[in-house]
């Protein structure tokens, strides 16, 4: 440990592992440390099942849960958008070769106490039970507009300037009612609240296109999920970092981040050992005096032995409950994965409900989600503080990631990572630095 590094990365959550990989690939000498003896931090998948029960101080699971080792339970539920940033990072870094994925089978939206499939193309729009006859036609016209829209071709904008006019204006142009606006903004554009209505329409159009491009990629739904759980993702990026020379130490307590003259970081101390460095990259848990609480997220892990009712027995699902449907300011997300993803014993499913906390009694807030699940065998609730760094890190050279938010996918995760990388290195990540010939050689 007593060496000098360009960067020391603390914590092996997904964001830190992606950063570690990108830094190593860029030729930096990296030391990557975690105080835990396992990879993943908050983005680990817990295995075996007994450990999950212990974590939540529940009595040990009985034999109906099958072999504990067959379970890999995520603590933070998320899916990958098939055409999103994380998939691009996985493919360009070659990390994808360590992982296998499955498409999520169903994407649903909640309306008036029941769930409906999210309509994404003209055919589905016309068949959907979310809208009446005339509204379906208007929604269909809107979808065609978005589909044909090209940001670099004003002819496709049809007398509407999406860079200056807001999204409410575009909805009004097509005469869409509140209900349709609701599922378009929340289930297709994946906004968590309604602030987007007053933002330039281009942002929402881009997000709807991401949804439909993702859907076009593998079918069924725009979401992907890795076999063996989300905890595989940080491990994959850690391996990338190691291949490019990164050094890994787990189970290593960090006692101090050593700061020198001018408040700049000079090293990291563990016991009596000090590793020198020019920069530190870490998650909020390693620098509690340099982060502030931004809010809280509630997540509820439910173990169930059946699919979610009214989803055509889908073995994986996402359900979005738009805020207005349940008189809230932020959406509730329900996700379901199962034994087919090697995250549960045969016949078992893991449902997760998550949302941003808005009241003193968050468990009541997630009730609309719980009510959709049918009988629940075991329930674990956690409420986590959501932190953000108090500064950009440019002066101290300590770059801190934000906690994982309540979004149902990894887009904000990737934006944070790419932004931190840019702040830390002064440049955008150059994918051409990845030498593909380093591996995967066909003889």
């Amino acid at each position: 440990m007593d060496e000098e590094y360009d960067a020391i990365v603390l914590g092996t959550g997904l964001k830190e592992c992606i950063l570690s990989g990108m830094l190593s690939v860029s030729g930096k000498k990296v030391l990557h440390i975690d105080r835990n003896k396992y990879y993943g931090g908050e983005s680990a998948s817990i295995c075996p099942l007994e450990e999950l029960f212990t974590k939540f101080s529940a009595p040990a699971p009985d034999e109906s849960y099958g072999r504990g080792r067959d379970w890999n339970v995520d603590l933070i539920p998320k899916f990958l958008m098939a055409n999103g940033q994380l998939v691009k990072l996985l493919i360009h870094t070659g990390v994808t070769r360590y992982l296998e994925f499955k498409s999520v089978e169903g994407s649903y939206v909640y309306k008036g106490g029941k769930i409906s499939k999210v309509p994404v193309d003209q055919k589905e729009a016309l068949a959907s039970d979310l809208m009446g006859m005339f509204e379906k036609r208007r929604f269909r016209n809107f979808l065609i507009y978005v589909q044909d829209f090209q940001s670099d071709d004003p002819k496709t904008w049809k007398d509407f300037d999406p860079n200056t006019a807001n999204m409410q204006g575009l909805y009004d142009k097509f005469g869409l009612d509140r209900n349709t606006q609701d599922f378009t903004g929340h289930a297709l554009a994946l906004y968590r609240d309604d602030d987007y209505l007053l933002q330039p329409a281009i942002q929402t159009i881009t997000r709807i296109k991401l949804y439909s491009d993702s859907l076009a990629r593998y079918g069924k739904s725009p979401y992907l999920y890795p076999m063996y759980g989300l905890g595989e993702l940080p491990q994959g990026f850690a391996r990338l970092s190691a291949i490019y020379g990164g050094t890994y130490m787990l189970d290593k307590p960090i006692d101090e981040i050593v700061v020198g003259e001018g408040g700049r970081v000079v090293g990291v101390r563990s016991g009596t050992e000090v590793a020198k460095c020019k920069q530190v990259y870490c998650d909020p848990s390693y620098v509690q005096d340099k982060v502030r609480k931004k809010g809280q997220v509630i997540r509820c892990i439910c173990l169930v032995d059946h699919p979610i009712p009214n989803t055509k027995d889908a073995l994986s699902t996402q359900i979005i409950i738009p805020q207005k449907q349940v008189s809230r300011n932020s959406d509730i997300y329900v996700s379901l994965v199962s034994y087919t993803h090697q995250v549960a014993a045969k016949g078992w499913f893991i449902a997760m409900i998550s949302t941003t906390v808005e009241t003193e009694n968050p468990e009541v807030e997630i009730k609309p989600g719980l009510d959709l699940l049918g009988p629940i065998r075991q329930k674990f609730v956690s409420i986590s503080d959501y932190y953000e760094p108090i500064d950009s890190g440019l002066e101290s050279q300590i770059f801190i990631s934000e906690s994982y938010d309540a979004t149902s996918h990894f887009e904000t995760t990737c934006l944070d990572v790419l932004d931190i990388f840019k702040r830390g290195t002064g440049e955008e990540f150059d994918f051409s630095k990845i030498k593909h010939e380093l591996g995967d050689e066909e003889q």
């Binding site: 990879y39 295995c47 067959d70 998939v87 996985l90 493919i91 994808t96 070769r97 360590y98 992982l99 296998e100 994925f101 499955k102 498409s103 076009a216 990629r217 593998y218 079918g219 069924k220 992907l224 890795p226 076999m227 063996y228 595989e232 491990q235 994959g236 850690a238 391996r239 190691a242 291949i243 490019y244 020379g245 050094t247 890994y248 130490m249 787990l250 189970d251 290593k252 034994y339 087919t340 993803h341 090697q342 045969k346 380093l438 591996g439 995967d440 050689e441 066909e442 003889q443």
Partner: protein
Amino acid sequence: MENMATRTQTAQRPNGSAQGKICQFKLVLLGESAVGKSSLVLRFVKGQFHEYQESTIGAAFLTQTVCLDDTTVKFEIWDTAGQERYHSLAPMYYRGAQAAIVVYDITNQDTFGRAKTWVKELQRQASPNIVIALAGNKQDLANKRMVEFEEAQNYADENTLLFMETSAKTAMNVNDIFLAIAKKLPRNEQASGASASGQGRRLAEGDTGARAAGSCCK
């Protein structure tokens, strides 16, 4: 359920006659730093040897095939990428591995002790059907030997491991140990345990439209 993703496919010759099966297996390397893990792989895959092999850059994910009767066995070989140094190998590394080579240096008794620990780790973490081979590397330095052949052979026999002394430098037994592993691996889908052909899909650039699960197989 274990992920025994044996990929079996039937290759076609240009004239259309069946050439036999291609089976793909994940093989992981384990052992202390500097016992010659990467050198063994580079010798096997590229026929090269470098006296001062940089520690694990370059052999992180290589493939090589061996032919057995009517079957082509394709090894997908994972190197530790140095993550063994501070005992920080990820569970992902063992996941779905159908074969492992545990390497020690015959001139260093400590590395043999560590090899035994790695074997235990495999028995704990990896699939129960994994084929494990023990390789006593640096046989070209036999005049500095600290681990007796018989001692290692007895240990291997007790634990039903394949065993050979190898030299990445002279190429001695390098192909042979991979071939011996290939012979012990199940070459049909039934024998491979679970539902075979990778239950998920690998992502690739330009993927469009839904493809069958287990992309490269079936």
